[in-house]
Every structure is written in structure tokens, then in C-alpha cells.
């Protein structure tokens, strides 16, 4: 168990001399606190698996350091790092029984037999694998195999962190939910640092108390699910998290006003002194834009279609060239295609070159 610090960590598969823009992981400095449940969220190819493999030692960083509880472990091999990792596809040792699979990491480290048996029994109980201990592991289903992979990580009492690399990819949807709750319960019970890589926002937001969003090799925001939802630090976070994602449209912003398509929207904060020449956009989540009957003071829009998501309806509308998603209030029925949009000013954020600008 350990706190993990990344100090100016970066990696390029082309080596340290590759141009900075081609780095799979751009320099990052951050701290993973002991006992935290983290999710690394981002689209395919954003560098999240690279970051995970750097922490586990499968990949050696081009530059920077990794500290476990303050001690530099960058040059150490995977074996010496006390890391457990669960991979996308379950890894089990075909010729062994479930019990032998669980005992394998301890056997390799020369742990006495009695201790191995006790640990294996504990972990099997924790993961509900006890009835299958004597069975051949090859004969089990994917989710049971994935539990065995996880169990092999947990069986060592000294693991610093458990890393998950999209572990639920091959699991049936109904079992995904079960396994995820199991992980959550294990996290509470064992006080382990867990880092969970995924491209599925639901998985990330339900599992983690801190979600780290990555985009194009960079960590763009790290925060609680609520923070990511309420105050995306980067337009990518706004767009990637939430369903539908945040509306992001180019606008002219001056003081407490934003102008879109000739229409003025009031802002809660003052945005004087935006960097000159920057690309200015405003972002607002569809949940905080209401569709209303057209009227003065409202941004006029054309409704293209309305999606009924069951609990809530979202309208896809067009304002000039920009596309918007907006909430359809209960009881509203559109007459014709024309509608007005009503914004919640406190929820409208301003972005300069994709980065959030704090108003005053």
C-alpha cells in the first residue's frame, strides 16, 4: 500500500528524442493517494494504457520518475514493484486449478505453504470463488476468469496498488454491473489504491472517487465525477463526459455577455481580459438549456429532432451553423420547428483555446 507520485513523467515509444508532440504520454506530475479509487478515462489511443503500464513497470518511461511512498521505483522491474494488474482479457494459467492459479504469485515468491493456503482461502472467499478452488481454471466463464486474475493480484498482502486495464471488456453486460459492485466493495474492504482504465464514462464515474480524464496523451482534468460534470476544465471533458455531451459553440465574449449568432446571453461572471487572439467558446450542458416557445430575449433555434431518453427528453436544435442539445421541459410540446433557448447563466462556462476561463 502506497502513495504514488508521478514526477514529470512522460513516454514516447519512439524514444526520448522523438518530437514532444509525438509522445504517447506528455509530461505529467500528479499524486495518487493511498487507498483512492481512481479511474483513467479517455478515448482509445489517449495514452491511458501507457500511463498504467508505466506505473506497473511493463513500460519504462522515456523521462521522469515514479515514486511509491516517496521512494523512486522507476528503475525497478515489474516483479519488484508490488503491483497487481488485471488485463483486458482474462489471463489464467491453463494447466492449473483455480486454487493453484491464486497461489501462483505467492509460490513464485517462496511464501511458506501454510501461509499460501490461508491467503488463497481468504481471497477465494472474498471473491466468491471457494466452490471452484479445485476446478480447472480453463473451464470457467470469462467473468470467473477475470475474478481469478484479480485474485492473483489481491492474494499478495503487500500490493501497493491494483491496476485495471479495461477489465470488463469481455464480460456480459449483466455481469459487468455485478463485477463492478464487487470491485467497489473490495476497495472499501481492503483499503487498496485502485487505478481503473476505461473508455466507458459510466464505468469510470460509478467506480471511482477521482476520475482522471486523458486526451491526446495529456491529463486534461482530474476530479470527482461532480466536478467533471459541473465544471469541465477542458472542452474535451465537457464533450466526453455526459450524454449527450456539453454544447460547445464559438462566441464573442465581452464582460458579462456572450454573443452567439447575433444574440446576447447573460453570464454570471465577468470575463474581461480574455487572452487576445484566442479561440473563444462557450460551453453549457444540455441539462441547463431549456427549450421554450420562441420569444423575445430567447436565443431562437430550429428543432431538428427530439430524443426521448425515458426520464428526460433532449431536443437537437440548430442555431445558425451551430448544433445544440437542449432539455425539453416536461409538458412542453413544440409547435412547428421554431423554438427559443433559455440558458441557466450560472452554468455557462467560457473557454479560451479549449481551456476553462475562471470569471470574476
Amino acid at each position: 500500500m502506497a502513495r504514488i507520485d508521478l514526477v514529470d513523467l512522460a513516454h514516447s515509444y519512439g524514444g526520448n528524442l522523438a518530437p514532444p508532440e509525438s509522445f504517447a504520454l506528455k509530461p505529467v506530475t500528479m499524486t495518487w493517494r493511498q487507498g483512492g479509487a481512481y479511474a483513467l478515462l479517455g478515448p482509445s489511443g489517449c495514452g491511458k494504457t501507457t500511463l498504467l503500464n508505466l506505473i506497473s513497470g511493463i513500460v519504462t518511461p522515456s523521462r521522469g520518475k515514479i515514486l511509491f511512498d516517496g521512494a523512486d521505483i522507476t528503475p525497478l522491474s515489474t516483479q519488484k514493484r508490488n503491483i497487481a494488474q488485471v488485463f483486458q482479457f482474462p489471463v489464467i494459467y491453463d494447466t492449473m486449478t483455480v486454487g493453484q492459479n491464486l497461489a501462483f504469485p505467492l509460490k513464485n515468491r517462496g511464501v511458506p505453504k501454510t501461509e499460501i493456503d490461508a491467503r488463497v482461502a481468504d481471497i477465494a472467499k472474498l471473491l466468491d470463488l471457494t466452490p471452484w478452488l479445485e476446478r480447472k481454471a480453463t473451464r470457467l466463464t470469462a467473468d470467473a476468469k477475470q475474478k481469478i486474475s484479480l485474485g492473483r493480484g489481491l492474494v499478495r498482502s503487500d500490493v501497493a496498488a491494483v491496476l485495471f486495464d479495461e477489465p470488463l471488456t469481455v464480460i456480459d453486460p449483466e455481469l459487468k454491473w455485478q463485477l463492478r459492485s464487487k470491485l467497489k466493495a473490495l476497495h472499501r474492504e481492503l483499503d487498496l489504491t485502485m487505478i481503473y482504465v476505461t473508455h466507458d464514462q459510466t464505468e469510470a464515474l460509478t467506480f471511482a472517487d477521482t476520475v482522471v480524464v486523458m486526451h491526446d496523451g495529456r491529463v486534461v482534468q482530474s476530479g470527482t465525477p461532480a466536478e467533471l460534470f459541473d465544471k469541465p476544465a477542458h472542452t474535451f471533458v465537457g464533450y466526453f463526459i455526459g450524454s449527450p455531451g456539453m454544447n460547445i459553440v464559438p462566441a464573442e465574449v465581452r464582460g458579462r455577455e456572450a454573443r452567439i449568432d447575433g444574440h446576447t446571453i447573460r453570464l454570471d461572471r465577468n470575463y474581461d481580459g480574455l487572452p487576445p487572439g484566442a479561440k473563444i467558446e462557450i460551453g453549457v450542458r444540455p441539462e441547463f438549456v431549456d427549450v421554450a416557445a420562441p420569444g423575445s430575449g430567447l436565443l431562437s433555434a430550429t428543432i431538428e429532432r427530439i430524443d426521448d431518453l425515458g426520464r428526460v427528453r433532449f431536443a437537437r436544435v440548430r442555431v445558425g451553423d451551430a448544433k445544440f442539445a437542449a432539455r425539453v421541459p416536461p409538458g412542453f410540446s413544440a409547435s412547428g420547428n421554431e423554438a427559443g433557448l433559455r440558458f441557466d447563466p450560472s452554468r455557462v462556462h467560457v473557454y479560451a483555446d479549449s481551456l476553462l476561463v475562471e470569471g470574476k
Binding site: 488485463f87 494459467y93 494447466t95 471452484w132 473451464r139 466463464t141
Partner: protein, 300 residues
């Protein structure tokens, strides 16, 4: 369910039936026919019933003695080359590079012996081993090892075995290499994380993942070595004495040397039967190994 009656379909099956009849069934039945008769000159045949088969399985008769002795030699030969080629092939596959231009280079070099025709392989080793002009034979003799495959049984066996190992180990290695390549990286990474030693990685991951290709390799090598004819015939001609006379060589001697069609037919039928049985055993083992892979439903 009612099916449309369409007798025209028979015409579509007919060509296949004719081809199989001409190429397989009729020749086989001829052999069965011969195996029940004794031949003399002028194409005279006399009915002998199962006489030849009885003799074949009775070591006290000339035919049975020759057959069982050559069968024993053949089985011993197969056992020896399997015991050498399978472990050696695994070691070669494990030490082959996993990526880069070296893979291509290795594959080409390994494929070379497989592409050489059998009789050329035999000729190469026949000359290579000659004490007077062959590089190996001459070198061995000049360092004081009295090596002569023409007169010494052990030398003849050693030559035939080394030749087979040289010729066919690459096949086993290539099959194993294919098996190794199909193991996902995650297995090696997981083994690293689990602190597995090199030996543990081999026994826990690589060997189990290779077991299917190994079975195929063993089957192919057993079959080939059990039918082996050309190479030992070219190198030793079955000698010295009868020491390297395998079943196929014995068969050709009886059929074409002595022109004993009845004995030869009986022998080839038994030979064929042995191969069929071995094939069936391997097939059963392989399908069982495959069935073990499929996950059981409703577990966990």
C-alpha cells in the same frame, strides 16, 4: 419433412464416385485380393486364404520374423527421432527472435531443409558421411573416431537419425513458433507481475499454449518417420545387414525384389491398418484436448 425427390442428383455424385473407385477402391481391393493368394510365374495364382496374415504375425516364420523385426526397428526409430526433435524443436522455437528482420531470416533458413526432396537429402548425407570423400566422415575419422556407416550398425543408425533430425526439426520448431506467437503479451506481463521465473513461464504459459501444435507435430513426425523409405534407402540401403531395414524397405524388397505379391499385399494391409489406428488415436486425443478448452456454461 417432405423432401423433393430428385434422382438427377445421382449424376452429380457419379464423377466423384468414379474417380474414387478408380484411384482408391479398385487398387485397394486388388491388394486385398492379392493378399489372399500365392503367385507363381506366368501369372498363376493359388488361393491361400488368411495364410499370409497368420505368417506375418508369427515371428517363427521367415515373413513374420522379417516383418516384426522391421516393425520393431521402425518404432524404435520413430521413438528416437521424436525424443530428439520435439524438445529440440521447442528450444529452437523459444530462441527464435519475436520481431524484426531476423524473424524472416530465421524462417527462411529453417524452411530450407524442408524444401529439399527426400532422395536429395539422402544423397547429401550419403556423401557427407563417406569416410573417403565426405566432409563429416573424413573429419570424424581424422580426429580418431572410427566412423563408417556402411560397415558399422551403430554408425548407420546414428547417420539415419542425425539426418532425420537435420531434415525435420525445423518443422517442429516452426509449428511451435506459431504456437508461441499466438500467446498474447498480457500473459507474459501477468507472469512478470506474478513474479514467475523463466522456467515457470515456460511450464505455466508456453508449454500449455503449445500443446495443440505439439500434438500435431508429434502426429506428423510419427507418420513421416513410420513411413520413411527414401532417405535411409539412399544412405544405407537398409544395411549393414538388415540393421536399418524399416517396414517400407522390407515391403519393397518383398514386392519388387522377390515379386511375392501375396506376402507384400498382406504386409501392406497390416501396415496401413497400423497407420489408421495411430491416426485414430491421435485424432481422439486432439479432439478431447480441444473440448477441454470450451468453457462450461453456467459456472460462476
Amino acid at each position: 419433412m417432405d423432401k423433393t425427390v430428385n434422382q438427377k442428383a445421382w449424376f452429380l455424385v457419379l464423377p466423384v464416385f468414379l474417380i474414387v473407385a478408380f484411384s482408391a477402391i479398385l487398387p485397394l481391393m486388388t491388394v486385398v485380393n492379392y493378399s489372399m493368394q500365392d503367385t507363381f510365374g506366368n501369372n498363376q495364382f493359388f488361393w491361400n486364404g488368411v495364410g499370409w496374415f497368420k505368417e506375418l504375425l508369427d515371428p517363427t516364420t521367415d515373413l513374420g520374423g522379417r516383418f516384426l523385426a522391421s516393425l520393431g526397428r521402425n518404432l524404435f526409430f520413430s521413438a528416437v527421432i521424436l525424443a530428439i526433435e520435439v524438445p529440440l524443436g521447442i528450444v529452437v522455437a523459444l530462441s527464435m527472435p519475436r520481431e524484426g528482420w531476423r524473424v524472416a531470416a530465421c524462417l527462411v533458413i529453417m524452411a530450407l531443409p524442408l524444401l529439399i526432396p527426400w532422395n536429395v537429402v539422402g544423397t547429401i548425407w550419403q556423401i557427407f558421411g563417406r569416410p573417403d570423400i565426405g566432409l563429416m566422415g573424413y573429419a570424424l575419422n581424422s580426429i580418431g573416431i572410427n566412423y563408417n556407416y556402411v560397415s558399422n550398425e551403430f554408425d548407420a543408425w546414428a547417420t539415419v537419425i542425425v539426418m532425420d533430425v537435420w531434415h525435420w526439426t525445423s518443422l517442429v520448431a516452426l509449428l511451435c513458433y506459431a504456437g508461441l506467437k499466438s500467446i498474447p503479451d498480457a500473459y507474459y506481463q501477468a507472469a512478470q507481475i506474478d513474479g514467475a521465473s523463466r522456467w515457470a513461464v515456460f511450464t505455466a504459459i508456453q508449454l500449455p499454449k503449445m500443446n495443440r501444435v505439439l500434438l500435431i507435430a508429434v502426429l506428423l513426425r510419427f507418420m513421416d518417420s513410420f513411413m520413411i523409405y527414401t532417405e535411409p534407402f539412399v544412405v544405407t540401403g537398409g544395411g549393414p545387414g538388415n540393421s536399418t531395414t524399416f517396414v517400407s524397405i522390407e515391403l519393397v524388397k518383398i514386392a519388387l525384389g522377390q515379386f511375392d505379391l501375396g506376402k507384400a499385399a498382406a504386409l501392406s494391409l497390416v501396415y496401413n491398418l497400423i497407420i489408421l489406428i495411430v491416426c485414430w488415436i491421435f485424432y481422439t486425443v486432439m479432439t478431447n484436448a480441444g473440448a477441454e478448452r470450451a468453457p462450461e456454461k453456467g459456472v460462476a
